[in-house]
Symmetry: C2
Subunit: 342 residues, 2 copies
Amino acid sequence: MRIAPERLLAFAAAALKAAGASDEAAEAAAFAMMHGSLHGIESHGIRLLPWYCEQIRTKLVKGAPDVTIERKRRAAVLVDADGGFGHLASYRAMDEACAAARDCGIGMAGVINSAHFGAAGAYALAAADAGFIGFVTCNASAAVTPFNSAEPIHGTNPIAFAAPNAGGDPFLLDMATSSIPWNRVLRSRTEHMPLPPQAALDDEGRFTEDAEAARALAPLGGDMFGYKGAALAGVAEILAGALTGMRLSTEHVPGALGDTGVGHFLMAIDPELFIPADRFAGRMAGYMAGFAARSSPERPVYAAGGPQWIARNERQKTGIPILPGLMAELSAEASIAGVDFP
Amino acid sequence: MRIAPERLLAFAAAALKAAGASDEAAEAAAFAMMHGSLHGIESHGIRLLPWYCEQIRTKLVKGAPDVTIERKRRAAVLVDADGGFGHLASYRAMDEACAAARDCGIGMAGVINSAHFGAAGAYALAAADAGFIGFVTCNASAAVTPFNSAEPIHGTNPIAFAAPNAGGDPFLLDMATSSIPWNRVLRSRTEHMPLPPQAALDDEGRFTEDAEAARALAPLGGDMFGYKGAALAGVAEILAGALTGMRLSTEHVPGALGDTGVGHFLMAIDPELFIPADRFAGRMAGYMAGFAARSSPERPVYAAGGPQWIARNERQKTGIPILPGLMAELSAEASIAGVDFP
C-alpha cells in the first residue's frame, strides 16, 4: 500500500493537532517525519506518529510549547524548546544558524529543554536547501558501549552533515555513530535473523550476532576500530549534551515523564565565504562527479545521500510504501484523533 | 634509545632552520612533530623530519613563507600559507578561530596554499589548551575508495576534535576516516604481517588482508558500514577542499613539485557560551568519569585521547623512544644540517 507524500504529510499534521499539538509544532514534526519517509529512512518516518501523538496526549511532551530564541553572541543563539519535541525548535535553530552564517561566515545554535527531534539529517538538509553547509548532532539514551566495554555510555548519537550542490542533489550524511540502531536488534528478533558481525554485544560484553542475546550496541568500527565510532559519539555528547548544559546519554531516561532535558547542536557555514558561488559550485560538482565516474550498473557507487535521492525520486512518483502492521497502527491513530486516514 | 622531548624539539627546529626554514616556520613544524612523538602517534612524529627538510632544501615547499591572515567575515578568517608547510599557518588559524569564538561564540579559519600539516589533533588540542572546543579537518592524496568501489576518491582525510576538561586531560579525537593509514600497509609488507580484515582492497576492489596485494584503503566501517567512513571523508573533502577552493583528494599529487594547493579547515567554539564555565566543567567531568567507572585493569576503557595521555606521561619522564632505523635517518639529517644530534 502506497500513500502520496502530501496526503501523508497532511494526515500526520492533523493527527498531531488532534492530539494537542499547536499548528506550528504539528507541521514541523510532520515535515520532519516526511523527511524520513520520503528518503527511505523508515526508522525516522511516519512510523513515529503514534508514539509522538501518545506523548503529547499523555503530556509527557508539551504539544504547544513556547519556543524562544535568545542571541548569546553575534554568531550563536540558544533556542529553548520549552519541553516540546525537537522538530520545531530545530528547524528554527537551523534558520538562526544560517542567518548567523550569512552575517559572520559561520553560525551555530544550541537547543535546550527538547525531546526527540527525528532524523538529524532533516535539519542539515534544511541548511543545504537554503544554500548553506549544515551540521547537526544530538545525543540519546545510552545504548552503545565505549570501545572495549560491556556497559553503554553513549546513545546512537547521530551526526548529520549536508552541503549544497548547485548542479544536482546535495551531499547528505546522516549516520548513527553505532554500527546499527537498536531497532535493528528488535527487527532481527522478530524475523529470527542474525545481526551483522561486531555490531552488538551480549551480557558479558562479547560481540554477538544473536539478536536475542544482544544487550548493547557496539560503536562503529568493530573489534579493531571501534574507538573511532566511540570518539565520534563523544563529539555528539559534548556538543549536544555538555555545551548546552543538557543531559548526557547516561542521564536520558527514555519515555519517562517529563524527560525532555534533551539538547541538540546545529551549525551552518556560508559556502560563499572564501570563494565565489560559482567556484564553490564547481568544486562540489567535481567532487560529486567522481562518484558517478566510479559507478556502474553492476556496482553502483554513491556520494553520501545518493540512496536517499533514489528513494525520494521513486516515492514522489509512486507514493510512500506502508507495510500492513504500520497501516493498522496509523488507522488506529486516525480513529483516536478523529481524522480521515488517506 | 630514548631522547628527552625538549632536546628532540630543539634538534628538529635546528635541522629545519638549517634546511632553510624561517624561525617561526621551523618552530611550528617542530612543535607539531613533538605532538605526534609525545603522544605515541609515531606516524606524525619526528620520523617526518628528514622528509620535511628535504622538501624545504629542494624548494618543493617554501621554508620561509609569508603567512597572511585576511578577515572575511566577523567570525571567519582566511589564512594563506604561501606555499609553506601547514603547521605555522594552522596554529595561527586556530588562534584566529579561538579569538573569533570568544567574540562571536563560534569561529572558523580556512587555510589555503598549504602543504602537509602533520597530525590534525595538534591544532584541535591547541584549541582545548586555550579553553575552547576545537575541530580540524584536512584532505589528502586519494588512497581510500568510496563504499563499494575499487578506485580511490578520498585521502585518509583526518577529523580531529578536542574539548577542554578542567578536571583532567581533555577529550581528544584524531582519526583517519579510513580504517588504517597507508603506512600500515607498508609496515605490514616489511614485517610480512597480515592486514586487519576489511581495511584494504586489491586490484579488483576485493577486501584483502595480504599487504602485498593491497592497492587501496577501505573507508572505516568495512563491507557493511563503509558508507559511513566514506561519508565522513566527504566532510573533510568539502570543508578543507571545496569550501577553501583548494584541491580535492583526487587532485593531490603527493611529492610533486609545487604541490602546495592544500586546504585545511579549523573551527573553535567557546564552551562558556550557553552555560557558566563551572557548569560546563561539571558536565565534562561527569562524561569523562563514565569511562573511568567502566574501566578495570584487565579491561581498560578510555575516553578519546586516553591512550595518548598515557604515552605522554610516560615519555615526558623517560624520553621519546627512537628505533634504530629512524635513529640512523635522524643522524644523517644532523650531518647534512650541520647540527648536533642529541
